[in-house]
């Protein structure tokens, strides 16, 4: 009898426990569902979908040359070598003296008039961007090397060797009377070049 009562009590208890468990589980489930709200857009979002970019992959694409010489490759080129390359690959767009156009003016002063180029006004009428020149506006020789190596010649960009790019940079500097005819440019000498525009620069970063 007692056993029977105890048995029933036990059943009752275990049923109660079962119910309580079920109820609490339901509450827990409800609680979880209830608390699943979406985060707002913020910079703290933990997105992490990108893949790592490997050192070797960076090496292949890291072509930007900085004014302080960062990323300059080993190599060298002379004004004489540059002159020959220029005749064969650049002159057809930049002109015999780097001033005739139609492509960017490489040498001389900016503006309307120049005693060294009596035809200036006629050229500008035809190609107004010749109003400005690499020699007079660009503040760093490293930028010339950078752009030649990544983008020139226009019809076959990235086809020049590092030595070619040094040589052509040297030739453009020579066209601007910044280096003499026998100059050899390399990763060290390029950093000693002082472009006339450096003194005229005014930064305007708002």
């Amino acid at each position: 009898m007692c056993n029977a009562i105890e048995g029933e009590m036990h059943n009752f208890q275990s049923n109660l426990l079962k119910h309580l468990k079920a109820i609490s589980t339901a509450y827990v489930v409800l609680f979880i569902i209830g608390s699943v709200s979406l985060p707002a857009h913020s910079q703290d979002l933990d997105i992490n979908l990108a893949q790592p970019l490997l050192k070797s992959e960076i090496h292949d694409i890291d072509i930007t040359i900085f004014p302080d010489g960062k990323n300059l490759p080993v190599g060298q080129g002379s004004v004489i070598e540059g002159q020959l390359l220029y005749k064969n690959q650049c002159q057809m767009c930049h002109g015999e003296n780097g001033i005739e156009g139609p492509a960017a003016r490489l040498a001389g002063t900016d503006g309307w008039f120049s005693f060294s180029d009596p035809l200036r006004i006629l050229r500008i009428e035809k190609y107004p961007v010749l109003l400005i020149s690499v020699g007079s506006l660009w503040p760093y020789a490293t930028s010339i090397f950078d752009y030649i190596r990544r983008a020139m010649p226009h019809y076959a960009p990235k086809s020049l060797s590092d030595n070619d790019s040094y040589a052509l940079t040297a030739y453009i500097l020579n066209l601007n009377d910044i280096v003499n005819d026998t100059y050899i440019l390399d990763k060290d000498t390029i950093l000693t070049i002082e472009m006339p525009a450096q003194k005229r620069s005014e930064l305007d970063v708002q």
Binding site: K126, L137, Y140, E202
Partner: protein
């Protein structure tokens, strides 16, 4: 060209109708009056309608195109730029755009080494330099990032250059003079998420953004702007970017000169200093009156232009009602006010701004005008929410060397002569 054509159509129609009238009169004469109504009832109504109401229409194409009568509205090549096949500058027909959105096929475009044909499957965005974790993201993964969809204008720094440097006002259309500006809704991924994932080091202050075109176009951008409102645009006006706008992705830097919004973007290098790339060394610098060279002048200043009526247009009547309308924009924020003058700037009236008026977006304005048939010089002057006011041409030129042509935002004047011909004019 269209007018004589439609006149010819009209006369054809007239003769057809006359034929019909004669026919019914003949029929009417032969029959008693009482029989006339049933005869008319038996006649098809088609003869009084144009052909397109009497034939089934054409089938629809997979990708829609403009109406055949609107195909003359196109981009035009810049007249004042040395054009090679690779360096090309194309202007938007803003005189035909009474809207803040430019259709994708008409968006202005400038490319310095042609338009690359990029396979999106092989294209990655790579972020490296002064970061904790260099990363790369393929196009499909980039689509999973949070995206924004703002409406912005884009303008080339050299827009309106001929008005800046030409000593006399060249008789050109508004498209030829100022068509290097367009508006669009872009959808893309804010840079802040991507830069945060890479973990920018405290020394990082600049980012060199580089495109995957033949010339590897690159610009140095201050990190602060990229973390503010810049994003990687994947869509333009609801479709993927067009190739000439940077497919498969471009940098979108709201309010800043077009050239800095690097197209075909593939690499972001975080650095402590700018690189002085080709365009920030020369072509996109401003030469001041003092001879100094202003560099990294990214903002496009407050500007407006009347597009109707505008250069090379012929007003259809000698006098009467017209609505003067145009577009205004500022790289600093919203347009607050546009004033219009019809007497060379002596008196100004406030134009209606047609919403939405959005930050760093084109804003359409208009004002009614009863033209008395006399010679008039009409101009517009915009003010933005920060209080920047469009300068006169003289005020603008006082700041810069006589040959400096970037960031020209001076007031544009149009002279309307008594014959209704509209011409570019300097005030």
């Amino acid at each position: 060209m269209k007018r004589p054509l439609s006149a010819a159509n009209a006369s054809t129609k007239l003769s057809t109708r006359r034929g019909f009238l004669l026919k019914s009169m003949a029929v009417g004469a032969a029959l008693p009056i009482s029989a006339l109504a049933p005869t008319q009832a038996a006649h098809a109504i088609g003869e009084s309608f144009p052909d397109w109401m009497k034939t089934p229409g054409q089938a629809v194409n997979e990708y829609g195109s403009v109406a055949r009568y609107e195909k003359h509205i196109t981009r035009v090549k810049a007249q004042d730029t040395a054009q090679t096949q690779l360096f090309s500058v194309w202007h938007s027909p803003i005189q035909n755009q009474p809207s803040i959105i430019t259709p994708n096929g008409l968006h202005f475009t400038v490319s310095h080494n042609g338009v690359p044909n990029i396979d999106p499957e092989q294209h990655f965005l790579k972020i490296h330099g002064l970061v904790d974790k260099p990363i790369k993201i393929d196009m499909n993964t980039l689509q999973r990032y949070p995206m924004v969809s703002p409406i912005h204008f884009l303008e080339c720094a050299g827009n309106s250059a001929s008005n800046a440097v030409s000593l006399s006002a060249l008789d050109l259309s508004v498209q030829a003079l100022t068509g290097q500006v367009s508006g669009a809704q872009y959808t893309g991924v804010p840079l802040k998420y991507l830069l945060k994932e890479a973990g920018v080091k405290t020394a990082g202050k600049w980012v060199i953004a580089e495109g995957a075109d033949g010339g590897s176009h690159a610009r140095s951008i201050p990190l602060s702007k990229l973390l503010d409102d810049a994003f990687i645009a994947l869509y333009q006006n609801g479709e993927r970017l067009r190739p000439e706008q940077g497919y498969p992705m471009r940098l979108l830097i709201p309010g800043w000169e077009g050239n800095a919004n690097v197209k075909w973007l593939h690499r972001l290098e975080v650095t402590d200093k700018p690189a002085y790339t080709k365009d920030e060394s020369g072509l996109y610098s401003d030469i001041l009156a003092s001879g100094k060279i202003k560099r990294f002048s990214f903002h496009m200043d407050v500007k407006s232009v009347i597009t109707q009526p505008s250069g090379k247009m012929q007003l259809p009547a000698q006098k009467g009602f017209y609505e003067i309308s145009g577009l205004a924009w500022s790289g600093y924020g919203k347009i607050k006010q546009v004033e219009v003058s019809i007497d060379e700037g002596k008196n100004w009236s406030i134009a209606t701004l047609h919403g939405p008026v959005l930050s760093k977006s084109l804003t359409r304005f208009s004002i009614p005008w009863q033209w008395d048939g006399k010679e008039r010089v009409i101009l517009s002057r915009a003010t933005d929410e920060l209080g920047h006011v469009q300068p006169t041409r003289r005020q603008w030129r006082e700041q810069y060397a006589s040959y400096s042509f970037n960031h020209f935002n001076a007031i544009q004047a149009w002279a309307v002569n008594s014959q209704g011909t509209v011409e570019n004019y300097y005030v």
